[in-house]
Amino acid sequence: MINRRVARVIKNAILFSLLLIIGTLFISPLLSTILAGLRTDADLMRNGLFSLPDPLYLEGFSKVWEQGDLGQYMKNSFIVTFFALGGTLVCAILGAYPLSQYTFKFKNVVFLIFMLGLFFPPQVYIVPVYFLANSLRIYNTYYGLIAVHIAYQLPFSILMLRGFFRTIPSSFIDAARIDGASDIHILLRIVLPLSLPVLGSLSILLFTWIWNDFFWTLSMSHTKDTQTIMIGISAFRGRLAYSWNSEAASSMISMFPPLVVFFLFQKLFVKGIRSGGIK
């Protein structure tokens, strides 16, 4: 009996150390970036990757912030992400509600048309989108970026919300209707309050995806007034003298918001991926 328990402890210990090694290797690209952001280039060249910063160097952050104009890029990212997220939520709620709670002609056609956007890569339609934005005079504006983000995120958001709305018991909705509640009233007072958790999950996913987007910013903007932080950090290579510390520090600044959101709301994030994948 004791032998068996010892064998199990040893087995678990081996498994744990194996996982620890694999986990450390797995995350080492992130770790080495963080370490590089905290040390000078000279220190890095002298002591190699596998050493702690000596001395600890934090001025890299303020240096890239000023020289790379990251404040402006971060501001653009926050503005675009905030409004695109809000706009996507509003549009997705308006789209998912009739697709889940009503019966009408062409309902499935409408749903399938929305789903097309989920499947086709944005490069397939980028050329017309680019010229459309130009002719609507929203190329290189916040409006243009926000609009393409909303449209692009709409299919997944509708799919996810529709999946949840369908689980709301129709007796709730029928009861409200008998009491004389209007359609919009039912959406606002019954469906939405029940959907707060799924709206939370969706918001976390949307925040991460819109913040991290590179392709749409690349295609829809070309000046510092509108480009987001992801373009800001990629442009570093050309603008500053090559420095690993600068690149690492600017990368860390850019990934700070989504990482914080992820660690604060990990459960909602995982739930979102799960329901988005399955439903």
Partner: protein
């Protein structure tokens, strides 16, 4: 349920809700998707005179060069690496980390982290992983005294697409991990216990109970993984510095459109990509119909 029969006003209500999302979506996604197909039969620089109909000449041009084949080949290599490997690794990790102990939950978060790292940041991170002399791989090779294997993984066109695919795998392990965890945890416990009582080995349980039980998750992981793999653009664009040999369809299209101002040819690439995606999506949608994901 008599509210549905009270006339045209009621029939209009779903369309009132749908108005805004449909207008946004049709203008920015659906209309350009159709416009791409139309543009692929024209010649247009994007400026000056309007697009001119030239029939199938764009397609003839694409076939006459090897660039499109290289791009398709790279897309397929990316797909062959970034679909099965995350699925396999994700499944293995999900099996190992299936119990909700605190340590397991911690390890899971570790494997989720790359999902929230942007392509732009990953490009920077991994340029330093692959950097020939001071990169992470070079440093590891140094530890094991094997510096002769250190090379420039990204500039060699034979290894570049594979090297970048590894980043794709790294990025997407979290998705199958999450789906397989949910599926494995849904397996009724008494099924496993019965197998244990009958003396089934671990492998036997994995192959005879767990893998058949999670097949629904497998279909989703493979189908969505393939669809996502077709969207590859950012990492290739950021990491290869525009070298034809490393192009995928997305970056080749981009170069034709915004590098050479050949909108017609770029759109022809788009149509080819469109057809390839359709070949994956249509069977997947049929499966969804059959399993009742889309009703009626």
């Amino acid at each position: 349920m008599n509210y549905r029969t009270t006339g045209a006003r009621q029939a209009l209500i779903p369309w009132l809700f749908l108005f805004l999302p449909l207008v946004v979506y049709l203008t920015i996604i659906a209309y350009p998707l159709v416009a791409s197909i139309v543009l692929s039969f024209t010649e247009w620089s994007g400026m000056g005179p309007a697009p001119r109909y030239i029939g199938l000449k764009n397609y003839a041009f694409l076939i006459s060069t090897s660039s499109i084949l290289t791009a398709i080949k790279n897309n397929l290599i990316w797909m062959a690496l970034c679909v099965p490997f995350p699925a396999l690794i994700g499944f293995t990790l999900a099996y190992i980390l299936r119990n909700n102990s605190r340590i397991n939950i911690l390890f899971r978060s570790l494997f989720y982290i790359p999902m929230v790292i942007s392509n732009a940041v990953m490009a920077i991170m991994w340029l330093h992983v692959y950097a020939p002399r001071h990169g992470l791989i070079a440093a590891f090779l140094d530890i094991f005294s094997l510096p002769q294997f250190s090379k420039s993984f990204l500039t060699d066109p034979n290894s570049a697409i594979v090297a970048i695919s590894i980043i794709g795998i790294w990025h997407s392990i979290g998705f199958p991990l999450i789906l397989y965890l949910a599926a494995i945890q849904d397996i009724p416990q008494d099924l496993i216990e019965t197998a244990d009582l009958e003396g089934a080995s671990t492998w036997c349980k994995i192959f005879n109970i767990i893998i058949p039980f999670v097949r629904h998750a497998t279909v989703i992981v493979v189908a969505l993984g393939t669809i996502l793999a077709m969207k590859v653009f950012d990492l290739i664009y950021l990491m290869t510095g525009g070298y034809y040999k490393n192009d995928v369809m997305g970056t080749y299209l981009w170069r034709l459109a915004f590098g050479h101002y050949q909108m017609g040819r770029a759109s022809a690439v788009a149509v080819i990509q469109f057809l390839m995606v359709s070949a994956i999506v249509i069977p997947y949608l049929k499966w969804q119909y059959r399993t009742g994901e889309i009703e009626q």
